[in-house]
């Protein structure tokens, strides 16, 4: 966050973002190499990437985009949303509804108009909110609008009423929880607990073909890159600094004349849309969307990814999402019965030893090294590492969401 202001809005994006440049490079390489190797190289080849791996990576990429969305509001603006899974799920449902409509008369009951679960519930016509979802463009629009509008209405209410801190967190959680229960209900018309599944094809291409999967993978990479750039654009602008100001001291920002609620609403809506896009790309790759995605615990996990990666660095959010989910995939396969110990341990150790998350590791090591050097110069009296010193030394890592006492002026 230094010396960026001399540059125009576009050039500044990747200046001072060595990590981000590397990340984008890796993503770009992945976007080219992985699909090609999957499609062209023979299965035995060392460089062959299996469809399993590609699909898995695609899923991680969606999670990474979701993590960016959360980091944008949490890391930069201090809005701890414990309900962001809701926006992800809504995007997913919008996509899922499109995919359902694509099934046409190939459902088990062979009804050309109605998805199977509706036939089964004796519904005779498509409910109004399903209209239009047979059109791809409309569904894509809804991928953005459904989460966006919900975020707008919810955010406008909450931010105008100055609901902050943990109060906001908890009502976002209440929101996703309420949606979870609502979507469970068969009467809602979204397939109840089973959700939407058994998709056949997208834009006429079979979802089971490797080509389609490769395209979806590339789309996920592109979405992540785009999401990263958009977020980067926001946080490196002056708006980004206003967000940090709001995170640090909301009322100070107000006294400077910034309409805090507008700023919050803006990032909240942008973030919800990013989450929606992530959800939309996720659904065709995993093949199912169901109310489980609304579960509060899922939203908490997103926060965990960001925290593990390093809150307040977009790049860290990506790393965190990838790392935690890879760990989960690996542990649940390799240590099916003990993996919770490992994942739990990973989280605890991260907080203890990597206060700024995985991406903070480097900076941390550097600082440690300098302290060591310093100490060696100081010869004796090693300083007792006390927490006060640590937190004083790096106020930016102190959380300004001071839960008990409200925010500071």
């Amino acid at each position: 966050m230094t010396q960026t202001k001399q540059f125009g809005p576009l050039t500044r994006l990747l200046m001072n973002d060595a990590a981000g440049r590397k990340l984008l490079l890796v993503l770009a390489v992945m976007a080219v190499f992985i699909p090609l190797s999957n499609l062209l190289l023979p299965e035995g080849s060392f460089f062959h990437v299996s469809t399993y791996t590609m699909t898995l990576l695609g899923k991680y990429l969606c999670y990474a985009l979701l993590a960016i969305a959360v980091d944008l509001i949490w890391g930069y603006c201090g809005i701890l949303s414990l309900g962001h899974g809701a926006f992800f799920a809504l995007g997913g449902y919008a996509m899922g509804m499109y995919l359902m409509r694509q099934i046409g008369d190939r459902g088990v009951y062979g009804n050309p108009e109605l998805p199977d679960f509706m036939v089964f519930l004796n519904w005779t016509e498509l409910p109004w909110y399903w209209l239009g979802f047979d059109q791809f463009w409309f569904a894509m629009l809804m991928v953005l609008l459904a989460p966006g509008i919900l975020a707008f209405v919810f955010g406008a209410l909450a931010f105008r009423s100055r609901v902050t801190g943990v109060y906001l967190s908890i009502i976002t959680q209440a929101l996703t929880y309420a949606l979870l229960l609502a979507f469970f209900r068969n009467d809602m018309g979204f397939g109840g607990n089973n959700g939407l599944t058994d998709f056949k094809d997208i834009l006429g291409y079979s979802l089971q073909s490797d080509n389609t999967r490769a395209v979806l993978f590339v789309a996920s990479v592109l979405a992540l890159i785009l999401g990263y750039l958009i977020s980067r654009f926001i946080v490196t602008s002056k708006l980004g600094r206003v967000l940090v100001a709001i995170r640090d001291s909301e009322s100070r920002a107000r006294f400077l004349g910034y309409r805090v609620e507008h700023y919050k609403l803006f990032v909240f809506v942008v973030s919800s849309m990013l989450a929606g896009v992530a959800g939309a790309l996720y659904v065709p790759q995993v093949g199912i969307i169901n109310p489980g995605e609304f579960a509060p615990i899922n939203s908490i996990e997103i926060i965990i990814w960001v925290a593990v990666g390093g809150r307040g660095t977009l790049f860290g959010a990506v790393i965190g999402a990838m790392l935690v989910n890879y760990a989960k995939t690996y542990f649940t396969g390799a240590f099916a019965e003990l993996w919770l110990f490992m994942l739990g341990g990973l989280f605890v150790l991260t907080t203890l030893y990597l206060p700024k998350g995985v991406v903070g590791l480097w900076a941390h090591l550097k600082e440690k090294y300098q302290q060591k050097k310093h100490q060696r110069e100081a010869e004796d009296n090693p300083p007792a590492l006390n927490t006060e010193t640590q937190s004083k030394a790096a106020p930016e890592q102190q959380d300004k969401l001071n839960f008990v006492q409200g925010e500071k002026v």
């Binding site: 966050m1 230094t2 010396q3 202001k5 001399q6 125009g8 809005p9 654009f233 926001i234 602008s237 002056k238 708006l239 600094r241 206003v242 940090v244 100001a245 995170r247 640090d248 001291s249 009322s251 100070r252 920002a253 107000r254 006294f255 400077l256 004349g257 910034y258 309409r259 805090v260 507008h262 700023y263 803006f266 106020p395 930016e396 300004k400 500071k408 002026v409």
Partner: protein
């Protein structure tokens, strides 16, 4: 945004306060307070601890809603606004800037970014998103940095400043904001005598273009400001006039200055 029912004041004051009262759980922090600040005026406010000075600023800036009373602000375009209806951001955008008693800067932004954020204009989302620092603005920031003696801390996080440095930074932010009316709560606290004088000089220069309301307990500083002084006590005005007159007022001596 002008006032609905213009209660016209002949000699437009920048700030017109009449009968403002605030109470907290029955305790009257402001008690029918009235005061008028003229354009370009500098006004010093003194008064015992707990007299209601800070509360008064809270009321003007929209942080606290008064129980009764009117507060009318006349902007440069000569339109009048009833401040009791606006929130903090609105009041700030109308042209009222404030420095807090307890230094408050944005700790995880650098000194430079703090100042940049305070610069006048560009408060809307789109402006913030597409904001570009012009050479002119950059120059202005550099000037301010020099003035507040923090040029060498330009890239330092504001949270890492000492108490006094934060005070200075906050004054700098006020300068960047260029408000029409400045409310300054205890600027000299924690400054050396020299710095105190320097601050007084600075304010006097500002007073030509802006209106200022300065709260202090440091009598030397008040003296250096050389302006009309209002003494608050128990939420209303106890005395008003030149420093010499109020200093001679036995009540002021009794409750404030001591013998």
């Amino acid at each position: 945004m002008s006032l609905q029912t213009p209660k016209h004041i002949d000699n437009p004051a920048v700030l017109y306060m009449d009968g403002v009262s605030v109470s907290f759980d029955g305790f009257k922090a402001l008690n029918s307070l009235s005061m008028v600040i003229a354009p370009g005026e500098m006004r010093a406010i003194i008064g015992p601890n707990g007299a209601g000075k800070t509360t008064m600023m809270d009321v003007i800036t929209g942080k606290t809603r008064p129980d009764t009373g009117t507060i009318i602000f006349t902007d440069n375009a000569n339109s009048q606004h009833d401040l009791t209806r606006f929130d903090e951001a609105d009041v700030a955008n109308l042209g009222v800037g404030r420095k807090f008693q307890k230094p408050s800067v944005i700790e995880s932004l650098t000194v430079f970014e703090n100042l940049e954020m305070s610069l006048k204009g560009g408060r809307s989302i789109w402006q913030a998103l597409l904001h570009k620092l012009t050479a002119e603005k950059a120059q202005k920031l550099d000037d301010i940095l020099d003035m507040i003696d923090l040029a060498d801390k330009r890239e330092e996080l504001a949270g890492n400043l000492s108490h006094g440095q934060k005070q200075w930074l906050e004054i700098g932010m006020l300068l960047g904001q260029e408000p029409q009316l400045l409310l300054i709560d205890e600027p000299a606290a924690g400054m050396t005598d020299e710095e105190t004088m320097k601050t007084a000089e600075l304010f006097k220069r500002l007073a030509q273009k802006h209106s200022l309301m300065v709260v202090e307990h440091d009598m030397d500083f008040i003296e250096a400001l050389d302006c009309k002084v209002t003494v608050l006590h128990e939420g209303h005005v106890l005395a008003e006039g030149s420093l010499a007159t109020v200093k001679a007022n036995p009540q002021v001596i009794e409750v404030y200055l001591g013998r």
